[in-house]
Symmetry: C2
Subunit: 324 residues, 2 copies
């Protein structure tokens, strides 16, 4: 490979004026449910930024909406769950995902995209802790207190719950790959709220179900959560071939901990993109130097693009990474 | 010492019905400015929970209000800064703190308390990154993007800024100790948003100013931020005698990294207090076992008490730690 590949989490989104223009007319989930729109939004950053991969425009709650749960996405808030999960009885509501019947529009978007794209398409799904937290809290949470109260207090219910969520995620990923996606990423965004011992006990078995569910498909699989510095080895042990690293752990230290056999993705602080170009440049160079020219590095931010980011800065980062 | 000492961050606050009753009639800053009320609130958890230390009821923004900045505390939001700091010109607004003139009510509260308390009183101040973030963002922030843009993009302004904030914090701590506080804690709550290299470059020099400012007073000094697992060595290197550890790093690992010479404070997940007593009990025992009976451990939560916590659970935790 000639250069380090680069893409950005949330590259398709509010940092792009063409996306904001589309959102004037369409809701987020309406775009997801309309393959031509979802495909267009997915391609916007590929066209404008020159990134080496596209990531499907969707949301981790989409498969849950697909099985009939009443979840909306509120601008500025995130997912809002009409009836939060609170007890064993709620498990019934988590029926298995039948992708072709439940989320046909997602698969159609993938099929449209793989015909048109000349870079790989990344499919994705939500990880067990993060999906569980949204369903139990009813939306985003700072403390994840209800989630943890169930996890610590009713471990049997919890394990059944995250196992079912893992099966839904695995089915969604398998279907995306069958439709043509060339890589997958599991976003367990809030898993970093847990200690290693708690992650290993309460989440890792479910995460393993997800990665085992796509293992036979032979595509690269990325495992990422924000602030998961204490969990990197466990994210790998779940079965991922690539571990996403947020900006709080230097890439050379992540490599030392995970060994040369695990590829790394990351990890420029997204907030740095709002500083001067000189500061951005130094940050990019620091990430590249800590990788030390190894293959097995996918350049990315350490978390999603901030909405106020100037897309020209992202395009310059792509050029810088490609020129290195 | 007969047993491991225990107190809880945010033990004086919304988890206590007697505090909520008082807040029906008085604003948070009104209580802080009224020594008899602030002293009463400080003592509430000592009376009810049997903890081994009191922490002054105040807020990290109080010294900034004391020097004339227009900052309010909004219920459910946090600090709201009327005119956020954005450029070098704003540095003028950070004049040195003269504790006896600027925050006399805080010192009076300390004096009232040390007469009445039969446990040590902990004074506190905000750390440089956290205070800077509130002033620059204008309030709480998820991404701290403006703060980091200034930090990375205008390092000269940034260093002058956090240095001035550190001097204010140090003056506030010194005055609290002179008034009778027997220990101090620096809450750099959001420092965990930074990588070790960035913390070392942009924050550590200011943190050192704070701890150097109280070193001659010879009281124990705790340094804490949430999600600072990647920074524990640097929090110690700032000059603290005790490092606060949040629940994401096991106490035995923190000890291994910091050595036997540094005392540790922590680190039960506050969300666990909302689970069954069995789960709470197991969590407390796990923390105690990881400490392995060493002195140099102050039992605490890994972050503040959640408002929905049952104070009876906290009282049982105190008993459990005392009986261990």
């Amino acid at each position: 490979m000639a250069h380090t590949p680069v893409w950005f989490m949330r590259q398709a989104g509010r940092c792009l004026p063409e996306y904001r223009a589309l959102r004037q007319k369409h809701g987020m989930l309406d775009i997801v449910r309309t393959p031509e729109l979802a495909a267009d939004v997915t391609m916007q950053p590929v066209r404008r930024l020159g990134v080496d991969a596209a990531i499907l425009f969707s949301d981790i709650i989409v498969p849950l909406v697909g099985i009939g749960l009443d979840i909306t996405l509120e601008a500025g808030t995130g997912p809002v769950v009409a009836e939060p999960f609170r007890s064993a009885g709620d498990l019934r509501r988590l029926r298995p995902l039948e992708p072709e019947a439940d989320i046909p529009y997602v698969l159609e978007t993938v099929r449209v995209l793989v015909k048109d794209l000349d870079v790989p398409l990344i499919g994705f799904a939500g990880g067990p802790f993060t999906l569980a937290s949204y369903l139990i809290e009813g939306g985003p949470s700072k403390s994840h207190a209800r989630t943890k109260a169930l996890m610590y207090g009713q471990p049997g219910v919890w394990h059944a719950f995250v196992s079912a969520l893992a099966d839904i995620a695995a089915a969604a990923l398998r279907a995306q790959v069958e439709a043509g996606a060339q890589a997958v990423q599991v976003f367990d965004s809030w898993a970093g709220q847990l200690s290693p011992a708690d992650y290993a006990e309460y989440v890792l078995p479910a995460s393993r179900r997800i990665f085992a569910g796509v293992a036979s498909q032979g595509v690269p699989s990325v495992h990422f959560g924000v602030g998961t510095g204490q969990l990197l080895e466990l994210l790998r042990d779940a079965g991922a071939s690539v571990v996403g690293v947020d900006w709080r752990v230097p890439l050379d230290e992540a490599r030392r901990r995970l060994g040369e056999g695990t590829a790394l993705q990351g990890n420029l602080d997204p907030a740095r993109c709002l500083a001067t170009w000189e500061a951005v440049h130094d940050g990019v160079q620091d990430v590249l130097q800590r990788n030390g020219g190894r293959t097995g590095h996918v350049f990315n931010l350490g978390w999603g693009v901030l909405p106020e980011t100037d897309p020209d800065v992202l395009a310059r980062i792509v050029d810088l990474v490609h020129g290195a």
